[in-house]
Structures are given as structure tokens and as C-alpha cells.
Amino acid sequence: MSADLSYTSVMSRSGQILKKAVGINYDDFRISSLAFDYEKMMGEVGYTIGEIQRIQLETGVGQTPLLELRNITKLARKLAPKGKGARIFVKDEAVNPSGSFKDRRAALSVYVAKRKGYPGVIAATSGNYGAAVASQAAMRGLKCIVVQEVFDSRGIGQPEIIEKSRKCEAYGAEVIQLSVGPELFYVFLCLLEETGFLSASLYTPFAIAGIETLGFEVGTQVMNQEGVPPSAVVIAHAGGGNVTGTTRGLLKAGCPDSKIIAASVDLTGLHMASDHDFNRKSFTTAHTGFAVPFSTWPDRSDVPLNAARSLRYMDRFVTVKQGTVFYMTEMLAQLEGLERGPAGNTSLAAAFVIAQEMDRDEILVVQETEYTGAGKHPWAQLNFAAENGIDIRYGDPKEEVAGKSIIIPEHPRQIQVSEIPLENLQRSYLRSAVAKLPGKTVTEADLDYLVYETKSSRRFVGKILVESGISIGSK
């Protein structure tokens, strides 16, 4: 019982701690030191999408409305070239019990925890996911601990995260609030070992399968209401789960041609583990600080193999600026009568631009909204940014520099997206893969795996491998 709790000792036990706490033996899916059978791992969930919907409905999760944003569409058409301006719809995920799509992500893990007899669940997250796990745990009568990164070395926390702590506590969770640093994972492991609770990680097959119902509903609702599948779906992108789960659900709904567009807030230049930078960003999720590293190497999460693998699913990846998202949040409230949280409007900001590139008869879906309230609101967040020395002004969002300025557009025509070429991410992914190889050779099976992982071609992967001095052998 008196395990060594030093940092190195706990980290060295992480494999065995997680095996017990996640309830999945990840070694079952490994094919080689590089490759693993992703679909076999997703099969670990063992429920059909219909069964997952039924489990989620038991706790009031899902079946959220799909709303057409008629005024925002009108505005986009006003700015678009003649004949352009797709109809913009939004999936109003804020009406889920704890106020975001994260309820879908939490529902299965908590259900499984209950069924397998775990006394409680633990999640490591500073996002809406904490409230989702806490809410689901309350409904199923389980204990819940949420571990959050909340404050800097001055003891100051962003109002958005403080609100998220409050919400977890409102549902009866114990909230562990930490200062800045990746050792949150160490604290998380200590708690798993101490309590024997289930790790409701954001990145297990259960979490991702829970999001599939969102994509499935988007596909079926659009087809039922409009008679055609969505032309494109814009998905807020951070750790990759939202992109992965939603796309898998769209595929299950029979929408293989819907373009998958990932959107993140551009926080280029801010270091995610920096005490100084921590309170100089206004977005704690759906930003490039997670989206880029997780796209290019998903297996950096709190599980041995990550079920969120966004590069397998993305067709396009764009970024928007912080000031733009605040502006869209105000636009959504004022023009559509929907007051929703800022981070959830990241994909709406991108959609506003992308709709202008598309034909008028096309349908573009923004697949989430999130709740808003004290702290988690443009007023609170802009005030906090100003207090932390960020220059807040109106003008061309292109000039915004994360951590230094927030520039709110003066006119909707200034809203722009920046492209992150997928090829850059694919190359970066492959370089990470090469760096993990024990030798200088990969097998044919490894090559196939890398093609799936990057949604690219054998030619492309082969070329990068050769450039990196790797040969393709039969062993």
C-alpha cells in the first residue's frame, strides 16, 4: 500500500496504473513497435451506434436540435461573390445536460464504470469535459474527481477555467486545482492509484465512440430535413476527439462525401507549459496548442494508444483568431438569439468564411455550441486579457499576435481563416513516427498503417520514409 509517490517512480508505473484504471489491455491491439489495429481497438467498445444512443438518452444526452442560422447566412451571402454563400446550420450541443457535446464523450465511460463496478471516475481536463463527467457521474451515482490546470504561480486563474471548476463542484465532483505544468498527469496517476476509480480519459475508445452519435445525428438530421447530406461539416479541433468521433459518425450515417473541416483558434507562439504564457491566452481549448501536436502525434495523451486520430479524418484544417471568435459569439447572440460560449464558436467563425466559398444550395454544418455564463463569456475573458497586459483593439484580425493582442474585426468582411496545409502535418507525423522506430526498416504492415494514419498515399509515405533513410522490408 505504501507505494513510492516520487515523480519518477509514479511515472514509471504509469503503464500498470492505466491498465487497471482504463480497463483496456492496449497490448492486444499492437501489431509492431509502430503500428496497432485501430479498428480492433475501437471494437473494444462493443456497442452499436443505436445502443450508444440509447445509453446516452438514459441520461438525457444527445438528440440536440439542428438550427439553421438564417441571419448569419444572409450576412455571409452579402459578403460572398454572386451565387455563393452556403446555408449555415448549427448543432446546438449546449442543450446537453452539462452544456456541451462533452456529455456524449463522458456518457459511455461513466456507464461502463458503473457496469464494471468502479466506485468512481477521474478525468484530467480544464475544459467542459470535467463538468460532463461530473454530471454523468452524479446521474449514475458514482463519485467523481476532476483534475484541472487552473492557476499560474501568482495564484491567478482564467475566469473561464474558474467557471469550469465551479460547474464540476456544482455536480458534486472533487476538483483538484493545479498550477501550470504537464505534471498534472502525475497527480492524475497518483489519484487513480489511490482511489481505484476508472480513468474517464478523453481519449479512450469509449470517449470517441460517444462522439460518433454527434456526427451520426448531424448526417441523419440534415438528410431528413433537407434530403441531402451536408456538403461540409466544420469541427472545433483540439486533441482530435471531436474531429475523429464526428467524422466516424457521419460515415456511419452514410455521408462519406461530406468534407471534414477542422478549425482551431490560432495561438501560435504561446508555450502551453509556460507559467508566463498561461494567462495570456483567452482560449483553453480548440486551439493550435493542442491541435497541432495532437494531430502530428496523437499518442501523447493520458492513455497508451489514443483513439482520437484526427489526421485520419480531416480534409482541411483552418485557424481563426481569438478576437474573431469573440466577435462571432456576439454575432450569434445578437443576430440569431443564441447566447453561447466563445470556444464553441471557433468552428462558427471558420464556417462564416467557408460558407462564402461554397454555392448557395450547399449545406454547411457547425457541429457544436457550448453553454455560456459568468467567466466563460467574451466580456469576462476580454476584461481578463486586458488585465494581463493584452492589447485589445478593433481592426484587421490578421494583425493579432497571440499573447500580445486581441483584434476584434470592425466589419464582418475582415473575418478570415488561415490554412494549415495537411501535408505539413502529415510530414510532421511521419517524422515523429520515424523517430520512434527502433531500427531503419519498416514492414509492409507498418507502411499501410502510416498511410491510414496520415490519410495519404503509399507513394507519399514511401517518399518521406526514403528521405528519412528508412527502407521498407518484409520483416
Binding site: S179, P182, A273, P412
Partner: protein, 101 residues
């Protein structure tokens, strides 16, 4: 004994989880210079003063020891004042929309 807090009070405690020398490798310099600290709330197990080392029982029933920092910890986050210029966004948007059929 000032009697800042009584047994059973709802309080917040702090703990240094890792001193600066014990932290993870490869941290940015600014973070590496600070300790990893933790805050958690629960019910106080014995009468105490602010700053004392105390033990609490959390809402899930764990007992945790740390320094007593707050009694009846509050949430102070709010909306605050409207950021300059924010209130005129909507009228500009409506103006642009007006001449759209």
C-alpha cells in the same frame, strides 16, 4: 488560538506537490522555477487557524493534508464591464443586414 475555522467548516487547502527541483524535465524555464501547487476543498477535520497544516475530508471522502488557505471559499468570477466598443458590434451588423433582402 484565533479560531479562524471550526471542525466541519467548508475550507480550501493548498499543497506543494512538487518542489522546483523535483519537477518534470524539459519544462520551460519560467515554469521550472516554480513549484507545482495544488488547491482542493473539503470539510475541516479539526479546529484550526489560517496557515495551519490541517486535514480535510473531500466531497468524495478522501482525506487530504495541506495548508489552510480559505474558509468558505467563494467564486468571484463574473462578467465585468462591457469591453470598449463591444456594445456597438450588434448595431453595425444590423445595419449591414438591413439592405439585404
Amino acid at each position: 488560538m484565533r479560531g479562524d475555522a471550526k471542525k466541519g467548516d467548508w475550507v480550501q487547502i493548498s499543497q506543494v506537490v512538487l518542489e522546483q527541483g523535483q519537477r518534470a524535465p524539459n519544462l520551460p524555464e519560467d515554469t521550472a522555477k516554480t513549484p507545482l501547487t495544488l488547491l482542493v476543498k473539503g470539510f475541516l477535520m479539526d479546529d484550526a487557524n489560517l496557515g495551519d497544516t490541517v486535514t480535510i475530508t473531500t466531497v468524495v471522502g478522501r482525506t487530504v493534508t495541506g495548508k489552510l488557505v480559505t474558509v468558505d471559499p467563494s467564486y468571484d468570477h463574473s462578467f465585468g464591464a462591457p469591453p470598449k466598443g463591444f456594445m456597438s458590434i450588434s448595431s453595425k451588423l444590423r445595419e449591414i443586414l438591413q439592405d439585404v433582402r
